[in-house]
Symmetry: C2
Subunit: 321 residues, 2 copies
């Protein structure tokens, strides 16, 4: 095995941005703009649980950082940098090079450079730990406990694709190459909404990314804020890639499908135009899907205004549905 | 399996310190004192590689955070908080309770509260990811590249115990219960030198913790600073717990034994008294073990002033010696 230090240097050491101390000391150092707080989040990704062992390493590098940048977006924070922990069952350099490429490309796009980390062996399988840092004015942060009755509920992008792609790849749905081709990018190359998230800071109230599924993650906002919600099924932005799927499969994918890095957020109705303008500027579609109620319940209404029975639960993780 | 959210709440959710947003949102939020930079570091600990599967979970919780706090100490940073990622093969609640106890006790002692994290299942074995944050004035940070010719080289605490305890526990040395009893705490309950580290900021030049062994880690300082070093073997603070061991075993443990969370640091000779006073105030012994040379070599001198031949290399990780 090449030494840990060689590997770090070869694939992960980049010149640190001005004013930062990056990879190669006991700690990385970075400054925070005056008046802003540090927003930070960490995710562990485990082979066989959060990704398939044979996934394209470039996509995996991208996604490892993307899911964390998505947490910054859901807080309204501007990315500063990230740390990467890699536990590798073996050193395959082409794999590592592709992983690093995907990771660094995401870092460059989001303005979230790699500034430190840790590399180790792990006979038990690949484990990836990413920690991100961003900056946000504390009064403008999009906290889960900030939803208010009367807020509109919004979601970015389209829903359902990642769930279907996962079911196709794991054999839970019969093989369908055309459908897989239309949905796979949502699962493997999610696009975190960092530009939208920053634009929403100070404009929206609460936000969350829907990595555990729309209903479960919206539920976190509702519980933290002590409010409820009414969603309109017909207003949910179902991906056009899913046209033709059975209605119950579609409904489950849209309401409970996880691994989605779109933002669900709430905002005063009076901010509707400003939100549409911010979304246009960020290049992201947004849909108004319901309203926050004072009553602590979560209902989804059908086209006739009747509550859907038997709402699917969200899930804890990738494989538990 | 209890749900991820229940587990997080039960064992890891603590009231966030004033002015911080802790566990339970997309990100944790914290402020940084004006003029200071954020110091951050992450470590991945893997079952079978960084710890034995049957280690006392309270000790493991302690050590998981301690080795990261040690990186803040080696930067001269004041701890702010930490994130914990846990990938668990199964949920055994007594294990989790003990792990959390050890972790929180270290967090309380170091002033480094848990403010966020991630929990997931992992059939492949236990993996622990910890990220720490601290604050340091950038001019005072103890960087690896800051050693200067003429600096004294210092080390805190005593050396050699963790290496011997590891060899006893892994069967690389014949069983010796008395020796294990004297050395085991150094391996399982390392005490990071955060008070000393903060006191050295602005007083010392370069610092590092010797988690990879004295020679290897001092080597990192030398390479980063473009200097060399002469150490005096007789000045190294060999642990009295190791009395009676063969000389070659002892020498290897002291020079190359890893998993040591003492600080090795360099400072101008004129700061010797101030350093001794800072160490006394921090309650940590320090020893002056050599000097930094302009010449880029690392030599260890015996009692007669002759360089020791065949210096042991350090190691990449726990099991690779």
């Amino acid at each position: 095995m090449a030494s840990e230090f060689d590997l770090i240097d070869r694939y992960f050491k980049r010149k640190a941005p001005a004013g930062m101390l990056g990879v190669g000391d006991d700690c990385a150092l970075f400054a925070v703009p005056a008046g802003m707080h540090v927003a930070t989040s960490t995710d562990l990704l485990i082979e066989g649980r959060h990704f398939f062992a044979d996934v394209d390493p470039r996509a995996l590098g991208h996604k490892s950082l993307a899911v964390n940048v998505s947490d910054l977006a859901a807080m309204g924070a501007q990315p500063i940098g990230c740390l990467l922990g890699l536990a590798l069952p073996q050193v395959r350099e082409p794999w590592l090079a592709a992983f690093a490429d995907g990771f660094h490309a995401m870092a460059l796009a989001a303005g979230c450079p790699l500034i430190g980390g840790d590399t180790t062996g792990n006979p038990g399988g690949l484990a990836i730990s990413v920690t991100v840092f961003g900056a946000v004015y504390p009064q403008a942060a999009l906290r889960r406990d900030a939803a208010r009755p009367g807020d509109d509920i919004w979601v970015s992008g389209v829903l359902g694709e990642a769930d279907i792609a996962y079911r196709l790849l794991s054999g839970q749905m019969p093989a369908d190459d055309a459908l897989l081709a239309r949905t796979r990018a949502a699962l493997e190359w999610p696009q975190p909404r960092y530009a939208l998230g920053q634009a929403l800071a100070g404009l929206a109230h609460a936000a969350i990314d829907i990595s555990d599924g729309l209903l479960q993650d919206l539920g976190h906002i509702l519980r933290a804020s002590g409010v409820g919600a009414r969603l309109r099924m017909d207003d949910l932005p179902v991906s056009p890639a899913l046209a033709g799927l059975p209605a119950d499969r579609l409904r489950h994918a849209v309401l409970a499908g996880g691994d989605v890095y779109e933002l669900c957020f709430t905002a005063p109705a009076a901010h509707g135009d400003a939100i549409r303008a911010a979304a246009t500027h960020a290049g992201v579609a947004v849909s108004r899907i319901g309203v926050i109620d004072a009553d602590e319940a979560l209902v989804v209404l059908d086209a006739d205004g009747a509550p859907l029975p038997d709402l699917p639960r969200g899930f804890d993780h990738f494989r538990s549905t």
